[in-house]
């Protein structure tokens, strides 16, 4: 009970003092490092760097859920879809965090495209809303931007800038904090991939994410990594059957415990079969 109370106070402090979106849990944010592999990114990953939408090879939908520190009150649900067109790809994602006393909603419209073989760019337009019982509401419009550069066949780098600019819809709400992510990913082989991401959110500690992915088989992958800002370790398994990919992950915080997460990706079209499935 005390633990729940403390976590609740923590969330409230985060929301009231800094109006920051819920701190990303590494089990979720590790998806962002997938964007720098030669393999087409998953839609949930593309949401972290909108430039990744330019590399999507199919239409897709996904859902994601996690229960932070095994607390119902700290659950997160996400859904999203991506539609590939001749001139890039559009994505729509929504998320909901929290519980009736403290809730956060967001909806983001993404667009990403390839400028040429080596460079992708993307934009995201995000609407966020907070509803805190006893304190009121806060709303924001943010613009996120990103780029991914293919340096070699195996090496990619990317930069994402979030919440620059950020517009407060409610003058009572505090400003959102800008965030910068810089990542480098390397495909050692078809079986092994690794990526590193530097993350900086205003007034928060420097954060470095590391990800390792081992594809044991074409439809089975093992993933692991860590984040340094608040030391957290995460691991997961990804299994693909036909057009569906299941991702089961968990992160571990030394004091607060486990955060399990599950995601489901569904490819609407077959990879590479763009001529039949592209929306006119």
């Amino acid at each position: 009970m005390l633990k729940k109370g403390l976590i609740g106070v923590f969330c409230l402090w985060q929301a009231v003092v800094v109006a920051q979106s819920f701190p990303e849990c590494p089990a979720h944010s590790y998806f962002s490092l997938h964007n720098y592999s030669k393999w087409p990114p998953q839609v949930i990953a593309a949401g972290f760097n909108p430039a990744a939408f330019g590399s999507l090879s199919h239409h897709a939908v996904f859902i994601y859920s996690e229960q932070r520190f095994l607390l119902k009150e700290l659950s997160t649900y996400q859904f999203g879809t991506a539609i590939k067109t001749h001139s890039g790809a559009f994505g729509l994602q929504g998320s909901m965090d929290g519980q009736p006393d403290y809730q956060h909603f967001s909806t983001t419209l993404h667009y990403g495209r390839q400028l040429d073989e080596a460079i992708n760019i993307g934009l995201g337009f995000e609407y966020s809303a907070y509803n805190i019982k006893g304190y009121g509401n806060a709303g924001y419009l943010n613009i996120n931007a990103g780029t991914i550069i293919k340096l070699t066949g195996q090496l990619r780098t990317g930069i994402t800038v979030k919440r620059i600019p950020a517009y407060q819809l409610n003058k009572l709400s505090n400003k959102l904090k800008p965030e910068f992510l810089v990542a480098l990913g390397y495909d050692f082989s078809d079986q092994f991939y690794s990526a590193i991401q530097f993350e900086k959110t205003y007034s928060e500690a420097n954060n470095v994410h590391l990800l390792f992915v081992y594809r044991a088989k074409e439809n089975l992958a093992f993933k692991g990594g860590l984040a340094t800002g608040t030391p957290v370790y995460f691991g997961g398994i990804s299994f693909t059957k036909s057009n569906i990919t299941f991702d089961v992950t968990s992160s571990y915080h030394p004091y607060l415990g486990l955060t399990p997460a599950l995601s489901l990706h569904f490819n609407i079209s077959k990879p590479g079969n763009d001529l039949n499935d592209v929306v006119e």
């Binding site: 550069i149 340096l151 780098t157 930069i159 800038v161 910068f180 480098l184 530097f198 205003y202 420097n206």
Partner: protein
């Protein structure tokens, strides 16, 4: 064949580098030097040399050892091995032959390509009079101004800037090959008067130089302003000198004894005359100089004279206090060096003596107990070097006016075609002092330091290089803000990956641990606490095509002093556009930085107008951008423009004192025109 093709392709790629595009290793060295000294230098001599060599590549068949050293891209061992190779085999037939030179790998050659060539005609020196025609002239005019008005320009009482806001610099220079040059420099800093008030003669600083080489027995003649460089810098070194960097093998000071001075910096040079004579294997140099320096002083009523307490190196004469210090220290200096040089070794004797119009006595603080004092000073040293096979050894032993000792010895070994090793030991007694020393030390001056430095550079694979160094040092006596003898250590590890000729990535981790006085101390004696710094940088340079280069850097810093912990973060992305045979080029940068305070600051090299570089320290929270444009109006007239702005969203003012600007933005504009004829 593959290597030959690589070199040929590299020639065509790297000659397309923009005018002020320095090799990444040089950018790093400049950054770390500014970081160590905590101030930027106005000495652009090196940039002038690089630009000259780009336009007039150095002929390797006639280049002297000194010419190769001036490039600052070769280790002493590489220079020595090249000279030996050329003396043994004869002149190079073509540039492709460079791969046959021992110790020169493909990466060294690529670094040099924009600045070198191979010509098969011998070097000849024309008579002095003949060199006065047929050379190149250029006139440069630069204006720099911060658009926001600082407090110092708003006031008219108390401490205020008496002059106008623009920083003006003008330079005229004539150069005939590398054998003769002369010119004039005039500089006015922002806030200094201009043809008014205290500066009726116009600019605050004037400099003129005349420099010639290869006049028969006269190897070098310097008149006007020039720099003097002896040995390894224990007694006198005024040219640009790098401290520790990821170029872990380049630890030896290398330069000719006399060098021309044509920069706007107002401190690190001599004014008078110098000459070097060469007779067979013996080179002898002498110089004489008199300068009026800016210095703070107190009046000693007993002695009835001013006592100099400190010498100013900034060159600022803007306020009444700064103007009062102008030309307070007349310094007469003279000295010389005799060097005996054979193919593989040399030995030299150096001496320099100073006489001050007013005696020098630094503030009476414990850390100044052994500081230089009096009306005269002198330093003497012996220096040596020798090369044997794959090993180069060098060193210097010095004494000062009061016979206090300093030693510096180093060794470079190429243990394998892919592995180089460096070692340097310095012992500088706590009493040893020099006026213009600049050696490879942790301190800015070679004083009060003992240390051992070891570095290793390894080419692990054709695309992966590892450089690392470790430096352990002690300070036997007190230092400023360190009230006891102390120790320190510094480590650096850098991985550089060049998977293709269009891409270079390096990741560098550096850590430094020293001691400092405890903050907010309430005891009679200060307690020393640990001060630790960690920096991690990831830097990518990607050439998209022959005209466009993208660069991206992410740097994290951590600072800890006792229980106080701070972090810093900096990220930038910039693009450089420099098409061949086109009249216009430029660069643009977008940058974000966030550090807790000045202690966790991060330095970042910036492209600037021609012959200028900028390495600001970033601290606080903010964004920065700049745009550089250069445009060839005509074949011999180029204009350069730099617009930069730093935005500190959370601040209502920037800076302090007379430099304080109200508001959260600081915008600077720089305009430069260069005419060549």
């Amino acid at each position: 064949m593959k290597h030959l093709l690589t070199i040929w392709l590299s020639i065509s790629v790297f000659k397309a580098l923009p005018a002020q595009e320095l090799p990444p290793v040089i950018e790093q060295k400049l950054e770390l030097t500014v970081e160590a000294d905590e101030m930027e230098s106005e000495d652009d001599s090196y940039l002038q040399h690089l630009e000259y060599w780009k336009l007039n590549p150095l002929d390797l068949n006639s280049a002297t050892e000194t010419d190769l050293q001036q490039l600052r891209l070769l280790t002493p061992l590489q220079v020595s091995l090249f000279i030996q190779y050329r003396n043994t085999v004869g002149k190079l037939v073509s540039i492709y032959e460079l791969q046959a030179v021992p110790g020169w790998d493909i990466y060294t050659i690529k670094k040099l390509l924009p600045f070198i060539t191979v010509i098969n005609t011998g070097k000849s020196f024309e008579p002095l009079v003949a060199r006065l025609k047929g050379g190149d002239h250029y006139i440069l005019a630069r204006l720099t101004q911060v658009l926001e008005k600082a407090e110092g320009f708003k006031k008219s009482t108390g401490s205020f800037y008496e002059g106008s806001r623009p920083h003006l610099m003008m330079r005229y220079r004539y150069r005939y090959k590398n054998n003769l040059q002369y010119g004039i420099v005039a500089d006015k800093d922002a806030g200094e008067a201009f043809f008014s008030r205290s500066q009726k003669q116009g600019f605050d600083f004037y400099s003129a130089h005349f420099f010639a080489t290869g006049l028969g027995k006269i190897k070098t003649l310097a008149l006007g302003d020039f720099t003097v460089n002896f040995g390894q810098g224990l007694i006198h070194w005024q040219s640009l000198a790098f401290k520790k960097s990821a170029d872990v093998i380049n630890i030896k000071r290398q330069s000719a004894v006399l060098r021309p001075y044509a920069s706007a910096g107002e401190y690190y040079f001599n004014r008078g005359a110098g000459i070097s004579l060469q007779h067979h294997h013996i080179e002898s140099s002498v110089f004489i100089s008199y300068r009026n320096q800016t210095a703070s002083f107190t009046f000693d009523s007993l002695a009835g004279q001013n006592i100099i307490t400190s010498v100013a190196t900034s060159g600022y004469h803007r306020t009444a206090t700064e103007l009062k210090s102008k030309k307070q220290l007349g310094q007469f200096s003279y000295g010389g060096a005799i060097r005996y040089k054979k193919a593989n070794w040399h030995a030299g004797v150096n001496a320099v003596r100073y006489a001050f119009d007013n005696p020098v006595q630094k503030r009476d603080e414990p850390y100044n107990r052994f500081a230089l004092a009096g009306s005269t000073w002198s330093n003497y040293s012996l220096d040596y070097s020798f090369t044997r096979r794959n090993m180069h050894v060098f060193g210097e032993a010095a004494i000062d006016h009061q016979f206090h000792k300093a030693f510096l010895n180093g060794m470079l070994i190429s243990v394998d075609t892919r592995v180089d090793f460096s070692l340097l030991h310095r012992f500088i007694s706590k009493e040893y002092q020099s006026v213009n020393g600049n050696a490879f030390t942790e301190n800015t001056l070679p004083v009060n330091e003992q240390g051992l430095y070891a570095g290793i550079a390894m080419r692990l694979t054709p695309v992966l290089k590892l450089d690392l160094y470790a430096d352990l040092f002690t300070f036997p006596w007190l230092r400023y803000l360190v009230d006891a003898p102390s120790k320190g250590k510094e480590y650096l590890v850098q991985f550089t990956i060049t998977p293709s000729r269009n891409l270079e990535i390096y990741s560098r981790f550096k850590t430094e641990a020293k001691k400092s006085n405890q903050s907010n101390n309430i005891t009679v004696t200060n307690i020393l606490i640990d001060v630790n710094r960690y920096q991690w940088r990831l830097h990518t340079v990607y050439r998209i095509n022959k005209d466009v280069v993208l660069r991206q850097r992410t740097e994290l810093s951590w600072y800890q002093k006792g229980i106080k912990k701070e972090e810093g973060f900096l990220v930038y992305i910039d693009g450089v556009y420099k098409p061949l045979m086109k009249r216009m080029g430029g660069s643009i940068r977008l940058q974000y930085f966030e550090t807790s305070s000045y202690d966790s600051r991060i330095y970042a090299y910036e492209n600037d107008v021609l012959y200028n570089f900028s390495i600001p320290a970033f601290f606080g929270y903010g964004y920065r951008y700049y745009v550089n444009v250069d445009f060839d109006i005509r074949k011999n007239l180029t204009v350069y423009l730099k617009l930069s702005q730093t935005n500190f969203p959370n601040q209502q003012s920037i800076g302090a004192g007379n430099d304080r600007i109200k508001g959260s933005k600081k915008t600077e504009i720089k305009f430069q025109g260069v005419v060549r004829f």
